[in-house]
Amino acid sequence: MTDVLEVRNLYKRYGGLVATNGVNLSVRPGEMHAIIGPNGAGKTTLISQLQGMVRPDAGEIFIDGVNVTATPAHQRAGLGVARSFQIASLIPDFSVLDHAAFAVQAQLGHSFRFWRRADREEILLAPAREAVEAAGLGARMHSPARDLSHGERRQLELAIALAQRPKILLLDEPMAGMGKQDGQRMTQRLADLKGRYSMLLIEHDMAAVFSLADRLSVLVSGAIIKTGTADEIRNDPQVRAAYLGHG
């Protein structure tokens, strides 16, 4: 079976800094693949290249076997790539439901529909509600984004990505900055989603990552130094030296 995501020899340079240094990576259907790495390792830059916001200098990206390296970001979303932002990227006036409905709308083809009220289209609202519930935000359905707490904003990021009905979820530190309790709830939510979506998960919380991921890759200074199961990563001397030792 083809991998949902395959990355070959990806490079990205910012001036003298090599943010992505020859990355090879794959996500199998239904797999949760986690990426760990210290601050500034290039995790967000990698996700942005996979989603299309950032152009790589070299290398190739395949979604379901299709080369999307030159495909613009909005078209990649149409091919099933959804990403959540490490720094929540929302629309303050839009309610939680509005955000999810917008994501559903975007998946239903063009938006040159001028007459019907979008906020009454059940074809948008039903899947949107479902995504919001799945992200655990059901109680805040009609709250505008500007009224949400930090943790709720992270949940909304997940809800939007789910509403896109993605082939692959790229989650950039979904529990960053959350309190312990909220973080645990988010971990549980991701565990519930596991197997239903192919996921690339970036996360700092080691306990969460080791319990969730099928495979892990360790990214240091833009390069993947090791990919393997939780046990293989935990016991790898190179990883311990380069990363776990510091953390």
Partner: protein
């Protein structure tokens, strides 16, 4: 919001309908006061309100500051003026067609031609963003302005007088009151149209991309084509308003297309409150009254009025419409949520 119940006043349609109902009383007031000037002012308010409400689609909902609105307004005016001129002079416009002073034909044409101009201007301008977009639309405004000045045949700098009586479906429309209700009907249509557009999927894209383009692209929507269509609709409606102005004063001139008039439209829209359909109507009324005060006995009001407008635009980012929100204790919006 799934239900309209908790929708804030700012986004509601009914205040616009109330304002239009109030405006509809202007002819009665004019007769009662025995002052024909009243209905003339009301007509001007209605015409500029059409341009301002239309601009709100681009400015308020799509978040794009265009300084080309007056040019499209003028294009519409010239369509009506030039076609009437050809009829009066029995000279073919093209392929033996002698022009027309029938508004049932020339108003839709003005709408279409201005829309096409706007589509062309938008196709170039929308490749840029922010301050560049403002500058490029301004440049296009000046280009079209000088284009009108260069129309020597149609009066050039002096403008174009419409000498033959204009008709609507064959009936003379030179009666002030009849014409007022024609313009008011167009305002009503504009308000209903913009309100529908703003709430449709199309409007959702405009509103989302105005605040957070990155998010729109991430979920799969490239805003460019939607912005272009919004810009063209705004320009087409400006053309309709300009056509009505030309018809109401039997005259159109390059002065109606000057760049500061484009700035006036932005002020009208921002003054009343962007992203509402009723704010720009109030803005247009306030603007026309200011214009009066500048040109008549109320001259000493000039400075205070200017300062009031400045204060409103600077302090209330939501325009006068935000006063309603503040009075109702609603929270104010604005900056994107980036934590």
């Amino acid at each position: 919001m799934a239900d309209g119940a908790s929708r804030p006043i700012r986004a509601a349609l009914w205040p616009a309908l109330v304002l239009i109902a109030l405006l509809a009383l202007a002819p009665a007031l004019s007769i009662w006061l025995d002052d024909p000037f009243t209905v003339k002012i009301a007509t001007r308010i209605v015409i500029f309100a059409i341009g301002a409400v239309a601009l709100d689609l681009t400015l308020g909902y799509a978040g794009l500051v265009s300084l080309c609105q007056a040019a499209f307004f003028g294009v519409g005016g010239y369509v009506v003026g030039i076609l009437a001129w050809h009829q009066a002079n029995s000279e073919a416009v093209l392929a033996g067609w002698m022009g027309s002073s029938e508004l049932a034909l020339t108003l839709p044409l003005a709408f279409l031609v201005a829309g096409l101009f706007a589509a062309a201007v938008g196709a170039v301008s929308l490749r840029t963003g922010g301050p560049y977009f403002i500058m490029i639309t301004l440049a296009f405004n000046q280009m079209l302005y000088y284009g009108a000045v260069a129309l020597q045949k149609y009066g050039g700098d002096d403008g174009l007088q419409i000498i033959n009586p204009l008709t609507l479906f064959g009936y003379d429309i030179s009666n002030r009151y009849k014409f007022f209700y024609l313009a008011l009907t167009m305002l009503l249509a504009t308000v209903l149209l913009i309100d529908r557009l703003a709430r449709s999927r199309f409007g959702v894209v405009l509103r989302a991309a105005a605040v957070n383009e990155t998010r729109a692209i991430a979920v799969g929507v490239a805003p460019w084509p939607y912005r272009l269509v919004a810009f063209a609709i705004t320009g087409a409606l400006a053309g309709l308003a300009g056509a009505l102005l030309a018809a109401s004063q039997q005259f159109i001139s390059p002065a109606d297309m000057a760049w500061d008039r484009s700035g006036d439209f932005v002020v009208m829209t921002a003054l009343g409150g962007v992203a509402t359909v009723w704010g720009p109507i109030i803005g247009a009324a306030a603007f026309i009254f200011t214009e009066l005060s500048l040109s008549s006995y109320m001259q000493h009001w000039q400075l205070p009025f200017g300062l009031i407008i400045l204060a409103i635009v600077l302090l209330l980012r939501g325009g006068l419409a935000q006063l309603v929100d503040l009075a109702r204790g609603a929270k104010k919006g604005g900056e994107a949520v980036h934590d």
